[in-house]
């Protein structure tokens, strides 16, 4: 599902991303080519009228026909160029869908100078770049691209909400945890009561990633099977959420075990809750979530997509093997 960065690969820096994004801005209003078509058309008609007034003969009669023909040829060439550009962006999108993130990013980068002037193509290219940078683990850069993409979307709108929730997940990686909380808090009222949708799935995933990063994972143990339903709209990307749940539970189990192993006076009485699952049960739950994650996606890139994943998830696998 995700692409583990090769040692020799260097993703673009934030400055390079910044320079690229500011190198082309969308053209507001009518495109320059359309303006030129209108100006040329009006010019030809005016010229023809003048020629007809001064009795220029056949030239005046033929000029509008020639103008229409030239305009038709020009529009046809323009349409061909548009189709070629559309196909190129589609090809980049396919690379991104197939998780060939570095190639997708390189392709979107290459197409940016020619494609970014058109608002719709600009959005597509930004989406490809954001997805690829996230997959590569270039979080600062992904955040910059997501911010740029957010500016192109009307607010409030469902796509904008989805993007904000994705942004919240990325913010976990840039350690802007207060911003994560703010994003999640502002998104919550907009999500509606129906939970089986992409919005809730993204929300839950962002929450899990935050909990995995902070270690405040007490709620995760209560989630259980409904989490599968909630994350299902993400498809195979739900694996990241499952892996985050596994990290949360592993951290919880570890803390529990340390408390149990500690000498009796060091244990606060509040931590001896009899209803609380024992450490082994928490470990078992963590293993279950990790197994589900690995059912959906390869292990190595998953470890890189979850905060603290490199610390807890490989250990979990060996724990499973030992068990």
């Amino acid at each position: 599902m995700t692409e583990a960065p090769a040692p020799s690969y260097r993703p673009p820096t934030v400055d390079e991303v910044e320079r690229l994004l500011s190198s082309r801005r969308p053209t507001p209003g009518v495109a320059p080519w359309a303006r030129w078509v209108v100006i040329a058309g009006v010019g030809v008609v005016v010229l023809s009228l003048l020629l007809s007034m001064i009795d220029a003969g056949e030239a005046a009669a033929l000029l509008p026909v020639a103008a229409v023909l030239i305009a038709a040829i020009g529009l046809r060439l323009r349409a061909n160029r548009e189709r070629a550009a559309h196909d190129a962006v589609n090809a980049a999108h396919e690379l991104s869908a197939l998780r060939r993130s570095r190639e997708a990013l390189a392709e979107a980068w290459r197409l940016w100078p020619s494609g970014a002037a058109s608002p719709s193509r600009r959005r597509q290219l930004l989406a490809i770049m954001a997805q690829s940078l996230e997959e590569i683990g270039a979080w600062e850069q992904a955040l910059r691209v997501l911010d740029e993409l957010l500016e192109t979307l009307p607010a409030p709108s469902p796509p904008e909400l989805m993007l904000r929730l994705r942004r919240a997940s990325v913010l976990v990686w840039t350690e802007q945890l207060t911003d994560v909380d703010d994003e999640l808090r502002s998104a919550r009222p907009r999500l509606g009561a129906e939970r089986a949708n992409l919005g809730w799935a993204l929300y839950r995933q962002a929450e899990l990633l935050r909990d995995a990063a902070t270690g405040h994972a007490d709620r995760v143990e209560a989630l259980g099977a409904p989490l599968i339903e909630e994350l299902r709209p993400l498809g195979v990307d739900a694996a990241v959420g499952y892996a985050a749940a596994a990290v949360c539970l592993a951290r919880l189990a570890d803390a529990d075990q340390k408390r149990q192993d500690a000498p009796a006076p060091a244990r606060p009485s509040a931590m001896l809750d009899p209803d609380r699952p024992a450490a082994e049960r928490l470990w078992a739950m963590a293993r279950d979530w990790w197994r589900r994650a690995c059912d959906l996606a390869p292990e190595a890139p998953l470890v890189a997509r979850v905060p603290q994943g490199d610390r807890w998830l490989p250990g979990l696998a060996s724990r499973e093997a030992a068990a």
């Binding site: 058309g41 030809v44 008609v45 023809s48 009228l49 007809s52 007034m53 009795d55 003969g57 056949e58 005046a60 009669a61 000029l63 509008p64 026909v65 103008a67 229409v68 589609n90 396919e94 869908a97 197939l98 599968i228 339903e229 299902r232 709209p233 498809g235 195979v236 739900a238 589900r292 059912d295 959906l296």
Partner: protein
Amino acid sequence: MNGQTLRVDPSDDARPDAAPPEPTWPCGDVAARRVSASLGFDRVIYQLLGASIVAMAFVLVVSFPQSWLAVAAIPAMVIGVWLVVSTVSTRAARRVALAAGLAEADAEAAERELAVVFRQRPLVAWVRRRAFERLARVRIQRGRPDDAAQIAWALLAKAGAGPKRPTLLLLLAEARLSAGDTLGAYRALGAMPRQGLALPDRLRQLALEVRYEAAIGRWDRVAYQARERASLAELLAPDEAAATHALLSEGARRCGADDLARWLARRAELLAGPRPTWGLPAGSGGQPEPV
């Protein structure tokens, strides 16, 4: 249901033998002929429009060689025709998109929307073709795959070797498979190009190939490269991805690759939730273990 019909709508009691409502567009051979005629008619309209513009321009230029009317009328006519065609086509394209959105929840309503599109003229060719493609999909959904096959066949005949051919072949294969015509599906899938397919077509091709191989009982073919096929199938829509995974799992199970079968079955369930049969052929007995 043990042969009994489950009645959930009280109005069923009043009309116990009520047939499903007839589609608004003709069925069977008539549908195919109408598709052909409709696309042909569009072409005739375009030729007539082009010819009338040329004729009128000629008449104007010859009759009023020095007149501003002749000079201005020619571009005005071209632009006018272009505006009319664009406006009608844009509205029709919106209706087709609306029908696509409706199709999942209410196939009948989707077909009504498409019926409006079919009455509109003049349309640019791609809009009408897309409307017919959508109609074929709606017919598959409504349990009329033979109609869908007829429509797909008619569209294929018009498309020739153009870029739409793979998509139409896949539509034909899907219709044939849904009708239980495995030979027809084989022919359609066999005519597919092996290279240069767009990703959506590749995904449809994979799903249909797996369905076809399962339908003819070639489980060894289903299980062939099951892991690689699963990694592509995960990009399909959730239900179809899960159904494809379930078939791959069944193939792996029948070929003795039990671990692979279990992994695929678990993926199927994670992607789309538990299903009682996963659309497997009767008697296959493949049940994913709980995730």
